[in-house]
Symmetry: C2
Subunit: 344 residues, 2 copies
Amino acid sequence: VRGDAATTGHHGQATIRDVARAAGVSVATVSRAYTEGGVVRDSTRERVLEAARRLGYRPNRAARGLITGRTGNIGLVVPDLANPYFHAVVKGAQARARRADYAVFIADSQEDAREETGLIAAMAKQVDGVVLCSPRMSEAALQSAARTATVVLLGRAARGLPAVTLDSADGMRQAVRRLVALGHRRIAYVPGPRRSWSDSERRRGLAEVAARCGVETPILGPVAPRFDGGGEAAGEVVASGATATVAFNDLVAAGHLHGLAAAGVRVPGEMSVVGFDDIPLAAMITPALTTVAMPTLAAGEAAVGVLLGRLEEGRDLAPDHPQVLPVALVERESTGPPGEGRRG
Amino acid sequence: VRGDAATTGHHGQATIRDVARAAGVSVATVSRAYTEGGVVRDSTRERVLEAARRLGYRPNRAARGLITGRTGNIGLVVPDLANPYFHAVVKGAQARARRADYAVFIADSQEDAREETGLIAAMAKQVDGVVLCSPRMSEAALQSAARTATVVLLGRAARGLPAVTLDSADGMRQAVRRLVALGHRRIAYVPGPRRSWSDSERRRGLAEVAARCGVETPILGPVAPRFDGGGEAAGEVVASGATATVAFNDLVAAGHLHGLAAAGVRVPGEMSVVGFDDIPLAAMITPALTTVAMPTLAAGEAAVGVLLGRLEEGRDLAPDHPQVLPVALVERESTGPPGEGRRG
DNA sequence: ATGAAAGCGCTAACAT
DNA sequence: ATGTTAGCGCTTTCAT
């Protein structure tokens, strides 16, 4: 095909045998020339690699995997690819994987626990391990999945499983403390999905800090964790008598801002608003959103890092103690001192 | 491991041989029980499937692929996973693939043409075909890649290659015609990346409609196709004497809006702004952005559909004539009649 | 340092 | 309708 020695592979690609023939060595030698600890004379390796280059040969990873039991692939299961929260996670994971020469399978579970389980099973044979982003499945299902495949969790912790999490509870503490410092004494929370691990973490942080600072923290909703949901909560927040709101995430906060504006409530004059995540949107809306920045890119990278660690060296970085990434409050324009009261 | 017959596979998973033994049949029969046109007696198939279920057996796709030459995987190469434009594309592609029981590899080329080529080569053996999203690579590189792998293009057309594109030129026509109907006579364009196919399409549409409607269309920039870039262009637009701006995409338009607001220019009172893409952000900012909605989700699905068509039936849906998806102007709050002039 | 040969888990002739 | 067998492209003993 390329004007060189005839190709054997029935799919038209050069195989290890073609290279061996072209380089005048055995297939074993070609194989060795490609493996790290392969014992080959330098001159031989060069000759092999040169022949391979000429033929456009690339080792078939599937065939290699069949025997080594390693595929060089990892899987990434995400609840919803349309959710901006996961965009940086995917990007980070992909980048880290590529750096280690791993390819990544991606799957969208559509927020469905059953689908997640199915996806993991479907991937299992084709990947060396999978990172599960904020999985919806039950603890039991999770443990069972962990027995089938090498997994690492992202954005959720579970007993005995390696995980990287983002310190939501502390983010909540930071947000509330700052609000208190600004003078707020009644701070509403617009929560996320009932069964969400990060929502429960945020509630935990909220309860702690509320007790410590002696502030009241009415919990609104629940509303859908989206832009619309935030808008719906606007009236309720005003009625609650709160002077500040913390929303489950930036999407909700942005919708909240929108609803507040529609109701003629000035931000931050009459109401301060804080989000979670720091998705790009947060800096693009007016007023720019104060929010708890979650290092999702780093989390994606870290999760793959932990997975690779388990895979390559079998070293389990203290699987019982999730690696928790610090978060930081980013103050922008949606927060300020309370109390101008209703506009005069 | 499961208390059943001893497992053979050296990686602890049940293999076809285990199932054959458990079901009291040969491996060939097990194989047949799993393939579409497999001729097996119903009762036998049931027995096999039951044994497989008991052992937790799932066929190893890599092994199967080794012999059939089909992997059941497709690849998706995206310039930048952080770019919201591609989020729905990925989601759509993933959904369509999953429906046909294909898994998807995803790769981020970081807008680098060389990286794209490398990624395609790296994937080639593990996938049956790949969808190239708005590839940056040269026409020549594209043609060469198409010889290595089965590809379909998304968001770009190239001679002889199957593609699904979005009708950018028509989107521009719609936007400008609407602006003209509103009374605008001088409409600025903030362009995208020089070498972008969609940008050149938009310019083409702009030139056409400008000639037809007799309006002037100063072209600004160039600026980076991001939020910041749009902000930078704000001053330039005002100076150009235009009463309306069309931006390369929503990100640029949003930044533009931001810059305009900072400069005290009222929108749409003193300046109308139109974006491209209709990413979620467009509806969340104030004023809500009028924009040309690109059906990116549908495009992702369609591209995978075309790929699957080529793969499964060898039917090439007129590869010389890209499937072009219609776009539609969505009017929101950032456009209106011109000419209140500078605020009094 | 290199080669021969035995598989990895599976499918596709070819038998029966 | 089912079983036997020869590989797919590769790595890994075991010889040499």
